[in-house]
C-alpha cells in the first residue's frame, strides 16, 4: 500500500490524481482512464505496486460484471474499506486509478475487461477471481468467445497459483476455462444465452442438456455440482451448507439474484458471513445509472442497460409485464458498428404493449420489430419517447452509448 511505495510510484500516483482531476474539470468523463494512463507512463509497475499487500478480487465475464463488482464491494465493506473501479473503467488504467484513489483500502474489488484478465492476474495477484459468463459481444472487434475461453484457460493454468476461482457452473465455456484451477467454488449462476455453447469447448462434440444439467456426449466435460445457487422459490441464495439467505434486492431480475449469489460466494472467501453480507446487497439501488429510477412529467422511468443479445434477453425478463417499453439502439464505436445481433434477440414477448423505438439506429429496430410482429412507434430521442407514453411507469432498455445519452438527459444519474 501507499506507505511502501517507492518515490517514483508516489510521484506517479500524484500525477495520476492531478490528471484525473483535470480531466473531470474539463468535462472529459470521470478521469479514470486518463489518470491511470499518466501514472502508468511514469511508473509502468504502478498497478502492481498499488495492489501489493491488498486483498484483491477480480470479476470478469461478458455480462453482469459491473453489478457483481458493486455487490461484492457492498459485501466487503462490512469488514473494511474497499477500492473499486465503480465507473466501469475496467482496463489496467482504470484499475490503477481505482487503487490510487483509495490508498488506505485493505480490499479491492476490480471489474476486469475479459481481454485483460491475464495481465491483471499477473499484476494484482488476486486472492479470488470470479468468472461469470461468456457470450457473443461486439463481434466486429472482439475475439470469438471460444477463443477467449481458451485464452482464459491458458492464463489461469499459468497464473492462478494461489488464487481461488469463483465460477459459473451453468456456462460450459466458463467451466472449461476454470476447470484447470485447483481451487474452484462453483455457483449456479444460470445462462440466459445458450447459442454460444451448443458445442463442447473441449472437444467439439455436442452438449446434451437435461434441465439445468449439461454434459458433453464425448469427452465427459459436465456441469459441476454447485456450492452456491439461487433458491427456486422466493428471493434467496442457498449456500454450501444448504442454508438459505434472504436477499431483498432492489435490483430486478433473476440475473441479479445470480450476481448476488456470486458476490456472497466471493465475500465468504474473504471471511464475510453471508448473513452479514446479504443485507448490504439490498442497499444497492443502482449501478452507474443502471436500474436507476428517474421521473419526468409524471413518467417514472427505470433505466436498463443491455449491451448484447444476452443482456437484452435478461432485460426483457426483468421488466414489468404491462408498462410501456422504450428501446434505444446506437452503433457507435464502443457499441460495435454492426447491428446484426438484434436478430439474435427474440422481441415477441413485447407484443401487445406500447413499444417506443429510438436511438441512432432506430430504423434497424423498427425493421426488426416488424419481423417479430410487434407494434411500435419510432421517435427521435428520449424526450419524444417520454412525450409518447402515458404518465406512469416506463421501462427503458438501451445499449451502451444509447444508455449514456439517456443518462446524460437525466444529469448523469447514478
Amino acid at each position: 500500500m501507499s506507505a511502501n511505495l517507492t518515490p517514483r510510484a508516489k510521484f506517479a500516483t500524484a500525477l495520476l490524481r492531478t490528471a484525473a482531476v483535470l480531466s473531470r474539470a474539463t468535462g472529459r468523463g470521470d478521469g479514470s482512464v486518463i489518470g491511470g494512463r499518466v501514472g502508468l507512463i511514469v511508473e509502468p509497475r504502478l498497478l502492481e505496486l498499488l495492489a501489493d499487500g491488498r486483498h484483491v478480487v477480480l470479476i470478469s465475464g461478458t455480462n453482469g460484471k459491473t453489478t457483481t463488482t458493486r455487490f461484492t464491494t457492498a459485501a466487503l465493506e462490512a469488514i473494511g474499506k474497499v477500492a473499486t473501479n465503480s465507473f466501469g473503467a475496467n482496463m489496467p488504467t482504470g484499475h490503477t486509478t481505482a487503487l490510487a484513489k483509495s490508498p488506505k483500502a485493505t480490499y479491492a474489488a476490480l471489474e476486469c475487461d475479459e481481454h485483460y484478465l491475464g495481465q491483471l492476474l499477473d499484476a494484482a495477484h488476486p486472492k479470488v477471481v470470479a468468472l461469470l459468463n461468456l457470450s457473443r459481444d461486439q463481434l466486429d472487434r472482439a475475439m470469438e468467445v471460444t477463443a477467449l475461453a481458451q485464452k482464459w484457460r491458458q492464463t489461469l493454468e499459468m497464473s492462478a497459483g494461489q488464487t481461488t476461482v469463483v465460477a459459473n457452473a451453468d456456462d460450459p465455456l466458463i467451466v472449461w476455462a476454470a476447470s484447470v484451477c485447483e481451487r474452484v467454488v462453483w455457483v449456479a449462476a444460470g445462462q440466459s444465452w445458450t447459442a454460444d455453447s451448443a458445442i463442447c469447448p473441449n472437444c467439439g462434440s455436442h452438449l446434451d442438456r437435461f434441465g439445468e444439467f449439461w454434459r458433453c456426449t464425448n469427452c465427459g466435460l459436465n456441469r459441476p455440482s454447485p456450492q452456491w445457487s439461487v433458491a427456486q422459490a422466493g428471493e434467496a441464495v442457498v449456500g454450501p451448507d444448504g442454508r438459505r439467505y434472504d436477499l431483498n434486492l432492489q435490483l430486478p431480475g433473476r440475473v441479479n439474484r445470480a450476481n448476488a449469489a456470486t458476490a456472497l460466494a466471493i465475500a465468504s472467501l474473504f471471511g464475510v458471513e453471508p448473513a452479514q453480507a446479504a443485507p448490504k446487497l439490498s442497499e444497492v439501488t443502482s449501478v452507474a445509472g443502471r436500474y436507476a429510477k428517474v421521473e419526468r412529467d409524471g413518467r417514472h422511468l427505470r433505466l436498463l442497460l443491455a449491451k448484447n443479445p444476452a443482456g437484452w434477453l435478461e432485460s426483457f425478463d426483468m421488466i414489468e409485464k404491462t408498462p410501456p417499453v422504450v428501446l434505444s439502439l446506437n452503433a457507435r464505436e464502443v457499441d460495435g458498428f454492426d447491428t446484426s445481433w438484434i436478430y439474435d434477440v427474440d422481441f415477441t414477448s413485447l407484443a401487445g404493449r406500447k413499444v417506443v423505438v429510438t436511438g441512432d439506429r432506430r430504423t434497424d429496430l423498427a425493421v426488426r420489430l416488424e419481423v417479430d410482429r410487434v407494434d411500435y412507434i419510432v421517435v427521435d430521442d428520449i424526450r419524444a419517447a417520454i412525450a409518447a407514453v402515458a404518465p406512469g411507469p416506463v421501462e427503458v432498455v438501451a445499449n451502451y452509448t444509447a444508455f449514456q445519452d439517456i443518462r446524460a438527459e437525466f444529469n448523469r444519474v447514478n
Binding site: 466486429d140 447459442a195 445481433w341 436478430y343 430504423t363 419481423v371
Partner: protein, 239 residues
C-alpha cells in the same frame, strides 16, 4: 400459388451461426406469411441428417474450425449437393458461402468445398469489416444491395457463376465483386440478416422456392425496410 407451407431448412446452426444469422429465416417467414404462406422452419444440427425435398436451405457464417467440420459433414451427408442439383434455392452466408465453392482456407489449410458454386476462396491480407454496398446483379433484378461484412476471406469466381453484385463500398469477394449466384444458389459475404436489408433478394428466393415469377407476388409494405436501406446508403455516401 401452388404451395401453402414452405419448408425452410436452417443448416447447422450449432456450427455456423454468427451474429444475426437467424434473421434471414425470420425475414423469409415474415415475408411469406405476409402473402398467406406459412413457413415451417427446420433447424438441422450437424449430427442430424439433412432432409431431402425441403423448399429452401439456409447456411450461415462461422469461425474456421466449425467451418471445416461443417464442410466435411455436408460432403458426407450429400443432401445439400442433391438439393442444388434439383434446383432448390440455397442461401449461404460468409463461411457457408465459401464452403459451397471448390475450396476454401481455414486455420491455414486448404479444404475441399462442396463444389456447388464455381469459386475458390483464400485469405485476404486484412479482415474486411464494415458496411458493404453495390449494384446487384441485373439478371436477378434485386436492385442495389446493402449489408455488413466481417470476414478474412477473398473469393475468386469461376466461369460458371455470376457475381451477386459489383461493390461500390466495402470489399466483398475482392473489392470489385460481392457474392455469387448460379441457378437458384446464392452466396454472399453480407452477414447476419442480409435479407432484412435486401427485401427483393428475399422475395426472389421465395419465388424460386414456390416456383413462381417474383413479379406476380403480392406486394409487402416495405416502408421501413426501404427507409433502412436509404439510411445505410446515405451513411456510406461521401460527405
Amino acid at each position: 400459388m401452388s404451395i401453402s407451407t414452405l419448408r425452410i431448412v436452417w443448416l447447422y446452426p450449432d456450427l455456423l451461426s454468427t451474429y444475426g444469422d437467424r434473421g434471414n429465416l425470420l425475414v423469409l417467414a415474415h415475408r411469406a406469411r405476409a402473402r398467406g404462406i406459412e413457413v415451417e422452419p427446420m433447424q438441422v444440427r450437424s449430427d442430424q441428417h439433412i432432409p431431402h425435398g425441403a423448399d429452401m436451405y439456409l447456411i450461415g457464417g462461422g469461425e474456421d474450425g466449425p467451418q471445416a467440420v461443417a464442410a466435411e459433414r455436408l460432403l458426407d451427408d450429400g443432401a445439400l449437393v442433391k438439393a442444388a442439383d434439383a434446383g432448390r434455392p440455397i442461401l449461404a452466408i460468409c463461411a457457408g458461402y465459401q464452403l459451397l465453392g471448390e475450396s476454401f482456407y481455414a486455420n491455414g489449410r486448404c479444404y475441399p468445398g462442396l463444389g456447388i458454386l464455381d469459386l475458390r476462396s483464400d485469405r485476404g491480407e486484412s479482415r474486411a469489416v464494415g458496411e458493404i454496398a453495390g449494384e446487384g446483379s441485373a439478371a436477378l433484378d434485386i436492385g442495389p444491395i446493402t449489408g455488413f461484412e466481417n470476414h478474412g476471406g477473398r473469393t475468386h469466381l469461376g466461369e460458371a457463376v455470376q457475381p451477386l453484385a459489383h461493390v461500390s463500398a466495402g470489399i466483398g469477394n475482392d473489392g470489385v465483386t460481392e457474392g455469387a449466384w448460379a441457378g437458384h444458389v446464392v452466396g454472399t459475404y453480407m452477414h447476419g440478416p442480409a435479407l432484412a436489408r435486401n427485401p427483393r433478394l428475399a422475395d426472389l428466393l421465395l419465388s424460386w422456392a414456390m416456383g413462381i415469377d417474383p413479379r406476380t407476388m403480392p406486394q409487402v409494405d416495405d416502408a421501413w425496410p426501404e427507409r433502412l436501406r436509404a439510411e445505410r446508403f446515405v451513411a456510406l455516401a461521401p460527405e
